[in-house]
Symmetry: C2
Subunit: 334 residues, 2 copies
């Protein structure tokens, strides 16, 4: 899933995402509930209607953004009180309220409100967050409605095997529609992320979707798929694009590099990007980036999204065809 924080994936539109072949996007409950507001989105007919997006939409619970973006937040056993980063207004988020808002947004998959502890954290903090997450789980599910979104639970437990087992066992008994591995995300060093994914993924029920939130680089995704993960969201392809980084089969390259100043042929000849980006040379891209032209960020974003869309397609095909080793070899340097 590309990340469309405010109901739009930065620099592209829903038509572009369709053309690129994406089936689902992530949007952020925190941002949308503050602007344009869940009531407005509901009256409008839901987020699909607002975005003109026919694919599927998953929203997060809002909890992560409340903890990381709001100017004040206080968590207690009932929920979180926070101030909007936009206007300082006071809001309250509880498990019930989170699911209600996501239901108002009319999305396909709602994430349960959990407590996501900082990473890394002590065993004691990880255990406390897990217990609160477990206490909140049935409260999230209590707001499930006929025709409303599917609800995914989030397994906590940090880097601790016994806690991960306990959390997966507890939540796996509840009637969630899918499960996420919580507490692993963007920017975490590989040597800390991989063992947790390897440990946590197989513990999730095998007959429901397994979702790794906020991951990752191509190698991270390949590793996680091999561990049994089915779904991902990540800001990397779009955020890195705005920082001049292109994903290619030969690795990440900085499109501002002087070696591209007069280059006509594609940066990565093994890549086959759609006509909308393939018609422009690395020299032109570099010129647009140097001139800070908005079209530069857009073309970079289209390139990276196309890279990820194709990679996920090839992952699905490799699982079906049994050609996983060939796929790993193909993406060895990506």
């Amino acid at each position: 899933m590309p990340v469309g924080t405010a109901g739009t994936v930065k620099t592209v539109d829903s038509q572009d995402l369709e053309t690129l072949g994406f089936q689902q996007v992530l949007a952020n409950t925190y941002h949308l509930s503050l602007r344009p507001g869940a009531d407005l989105v509901e009256r409008f007919g839901g987020l699909h209607e607002l975005m003109s997006w026919k694919g599927s939409i998953l929203t997060d619970s809002g909890g992560y953004q409340v903890m990381s973006l709001s100017s004040m937040n206080e968590i207690d056993d009932d929920g979180v009180t926070f101030k909007s980063h936009l206007d300082g207004s006071r809001h309250r988020l509880t498990p019930e309220r989170s699911i209600d808002i996501q239901t108002q947004l009319g999305v396909d998959i709602a994430m349960a409100l959990d407590e996501c502890p900082p990473f890394p954290c002590s065993r004691e903090t990880a255990a406390r967050a897990m217990e609160r997450t477990h206490a909140w789980a049935p409260r999230n599910l209590s707001r499930r409605t006929e025709g409303g979104p599917a609800i995914f639970g989030i397994v906590q437990g940090g880097v601790h095997e016994d806690l991960r087992r306990e959390s997966a066992a507890f939540l796996g008994e509840l009637p969630f529609d899918g499960f996420a591995v919580g507490g692993v995300s963007v920017g975490e060093p590989t040597e800390m992320q991989y063992p947790v994914v390897k440990l946590a993924a197989p513990l999730l029920p095998a007959d429901k979707a397994r979702y790794l939130m906020g991951v990752g680089h191509p190698q991270d995704i390949l590793h996680a798929v091999a561990c049994g993960i089915d779904m991902f969201d990540c800001v990397l392809p779009t955020r890195m694009a705005r920082h001049h980084v292109l994903y290619t089969l030969r690795g990440r390259v900085n499109a501002m590099n002087a070696q591209y100043a007069e280059m006509k042929s594609p940066i990565d000849p093994e890549s086959a990007f759609p006509a909308s980006t393939g018609r422009y040379s690395p020299a032109y891209l570099r010129h647009l980036l140097k001139a800070k032209e908005p079209t530069g960020a857009r073309l970079m974003t289209l390139h990276n999204l196309a890279f990820y869309a194709r990679m996920m397609e090839e992952i699905r095909a490799a699982i079906t065809n049994g050609s996983w080793p060939e796929l790993m070899a193909r993406y060895a340097n990506a």
Copy 2:
């Protein structure tokens, strides 16, 4: 012509311009000669190749930007010395050098370097600028090359009928491929612009293209076409888009207006914009603008460019069909 200052029309790409039906774009010699540099563009195979643009390209002489953007400029009878607004480096622009640079850029139409006096200005200043423009005219033409760009002359004379007549008579005798009305541009009040256009346009040779530089709003263009002008460039559709203003048959509207917060139907039902913009509601556009999402500026730009592209198409059709009065009525409020 949409304005593509740095070899790109802000927020859109060459594919978009093709889809919208534009045949020609304007690019700025001053900007391109500083970045990425005329030598690089020439080695790359020209600006068409760099932009991946199959249509026609017109460049200005660079003179206007030298006078308005550079951190220092000194004009003398031979040319202008100026400092780059990018890095303060010293450059020299002469009529010969301007045409040489535009030839290096590989464009289809090059504008002659002229002296464009401030507006409004005294009769004496207008006369002096006209005389220098006349002295430079043959020097511009001396750099014409086989296979190089067509060269357009620029008629000066300010608001003074006798000077305009003198300038048109003098330049009209020279073998330019087309002629522009200089000294009339964006932001000039209607009551000053219209009489000059009405006076100057019919004085230009009837058998060559007549170009009004930097104009304008829909009404300005309709007025100028009625006066005999054939070609326009203007930043208004793209710049106004970035300031939240949409052109419609009912006039200019601010897309941030609260009345559009929950609107689903098009802002202007008489307008038929392409699918790429027509699929998004005014409510979504407003949300994107409020959230300062880059896609907001892009969709606004596509809308306004589509409005102008269609207007120019309808102008051509009205001239051919003799349905000018109907066209004027249709755009009466635009």
